[in-house]
């Protein structure tokens, strides 16, 4: 293996880590501002211009706060759980192409850490491992509400994993490849995938809210009991890591939506790169918009929606796609 390859990969990994950790912090700022404007408030205004330095203030607070390990928790698992959430979110990013390849000084850079030919499966699989974070956090805490929230969260994640997988199957059948770059290139000549597969697009989008644990599927926090669910006993940076994981997941899921269904970075021009960022920004904004506009649904409604509406729709979509491709 060449040294240049090794250096390139390390630079890519560090860049992704730094950019998306920072974006996760900024994401909390955007979320507060967007929610505030939609509810006719101002949001954070005190620290810095328009409250922009609020992110730094929160960061300082999280890092310097005492790291409390309560009595009766299973200490090792309790400590490792937030790391799992954050780490798996960033591991999943290894197979996502963030931009089209470009050339600097005669050296071509592919902004993807590893273009494995099962990219989309890898991303979804590793994102699914991320649910061990809330699950272990809840089970290790000596707290009934944490445990309840962990069980409920796991049930939601596992159910909606089915929707994610089944809804993706139809586009994958059309493209005939699992690589995200092939999925992107498929849409250069023809229309966007959302035109061919509107049902799959909407299903995948809905499942995204469950995968990232966002409102209206935010069952990991016990809003009805006014308790923060699996994070109840966490403090300081360990609690912050759960949020870095959640926000990073939101960004990466937005990338998936944009690349698979909305044409991704197109033919790889500069315009295409910016268009991809624009689409990702829209999907991220949509996550916040939904949170401002909708309440949480009840667990039984959520399961009803998953198994009696979305799953049959996804299966019918696959069957129809199969017939159309065959004849």
């Amino acid at each position: 293996m060449e040294t240049s390859y090794l250096i390139e990969t390390i630079i890519k990994i560090v860049t992704i880590l730094l950019v998306f950790s920072a974006l996760a912090g900024l994401g909390t700022y955007f979320e507060r501002k967007v929610l505030a404007f939609m509810q006719r408030r101002l949001g954070p205004m005190m620290v810095g211009p328009y409250g922009l330095a609020q992110v730094a203030a929160d960061g300082i607070k999280l890092f310097t706060k005492e790291d409390i390990i309560p009595t009766n928790v299973v200490a090792r698992i309790f400590k490792i759980a937030p790391v799992i959430t954050a780490a798996t979110a960033f591991m999943a990013a290894a197979a996502i192409p963030f931009m089209p390849s470009f050339t600097i000084g005669g050296y071509t850079v592919n902004p993807i850490v590893s273009d494995i030919n099962v990219g989309i499966l890898y991303v979804l699989g590793v994102m699914a491992v991320g649910l061990y974070g809330p699950l272990l956090g809840g089970m290790a805490s000596a707290n009934k509400f944490s445990l309840l929230s962990a069980a409920r969260g796991a049930a939601v994640f596992i159910s909606y994993e089915v929707i994610t997988g089944l809804s993706l199957l139809a586009p994958l059948m059309m493209v005939g490849s699992l690589s995200l770059i092939d999925l992107n290139n498929f849409q250069i000549e023809g229309q966007w995938m959302a035109v061919y597969q509107p049902v799959a697009f909407v299903l995948f989008w809905i499942a995204g809210f469950a995968e990232t644990g966002r409102t209206p599927f935010h069952l990991v926090a016990n809003d009805h009991e006014i308790i923060d669910g699996f994070g109840t006993e966490y403090s300081g940076m360990r609690w912050g890591l759960f949020f870095i994981g959640e926000y990073a997941n939101m960004f990466f899921y937005s990338f998936l939506l944009a690349i698979i269904f909305l044409g991704g970075f197109g033919d790889g021009s500069v315009f295409g790169a910016f268009a991809l960022l624009g689409k990702v920004a829209f999907f991220f904004f949509f996550f916040l918009w939904t949170r401002a506009a909708w309440p949480d649904v009840r667990p039984d409604q959520l399961m009803w929606l998953c198994w009696k509406v979305l799953m049959p729709l996804a299966v019918i979509n696959i069957v129809i796609t199969g017939f159309v491709l065959m004849f």
Binding site: M1, I77, V118, Y122, A128, V129, L135, M139, A140
Partner: protein, 188 residues
């Protein structure tokens, strides 16, 4: 060189994780170490260039171990240590060691005799996923379909077992109706 480093790293990690799984008395430690070990195994598939198998290993086992967590949650207090009934650790050690030795002999025998040949050698230009699909839908079509039917049978049986009272939804009933229903059940 990177392959060697990665191999030894993940070999050590996998063995350490499974060691914890068998030796610990803590249900939560055992389950977590099991999940971690299963995921570390996928690294070997990636090192061998079998990306598809590696990803499937992650997806299948992270889901499968999740079911074990559910059982752990239902049967034990997972924040406490369990007291196992273990009459003789010498016997356990002896039997486990012999089983491990047998597996090593079974796997290494063909390597020693040198008669090892790939039944489905890697074809240049065809991806992992396509290669698996071809074998699965030609030579192993019948076992594949039989496995699918078995899963379907298990699923239907599960639905029948769990679905006896599925037409009753407590969230759509009023408090009085629920009370009546529960009283009727107590009397019956």
């Amino acid at each position: 060189m990177f392959e060697a480093i990665a191999f030894y790293l993940f070999a050590f990690l996998t063995i350490a994780m499974f060691w914890i799984t068998v030796t610990t008395k803590h249900a939560l430690y055992a389950l977590t170490a099991l999940a971690a070990g299963m995921i570390f195994i996928s690294a070997f598939f990636f090192i061998l260039g079998a990306d598809f198998m590696g990803v499937i290993q992650i997806i299948v086992y992270s889901g499968a171990v999740m079911a074990l967590y559910a059982f752990g949650m239902m049967f034990f207090d997972t924040t406490r240590e369990l007291h196992e009934k273990n009459p003789s650790s010498t016997l356990v050690f002896l039997l486990g060691g012999m089983a491990a030795l047998l597996v090593v002999i079974m796997v290494s025998a063909p390597i020693v005799s040198g008669s090892i040949e790939a039944a489905y050698p890697i074809i240049e230009g065809i991806g992992n996923t396509q290669a698996i699909g071809m074998v699965l839908f030609t030579k192993y079509l019948v076992p594949f379909e039989v496995a699918a039917v078995m899963l379907l049978v298990a699923m239907i049986a599960g639905i029948i077992m769990a679905g006896k009272k599925m037409d009753i939804s407590y969230s759509e009933m009023s408090e009085e109706q629920i009370d009546e229903k529960l009283d009727a059940e107590v009397i019956a």
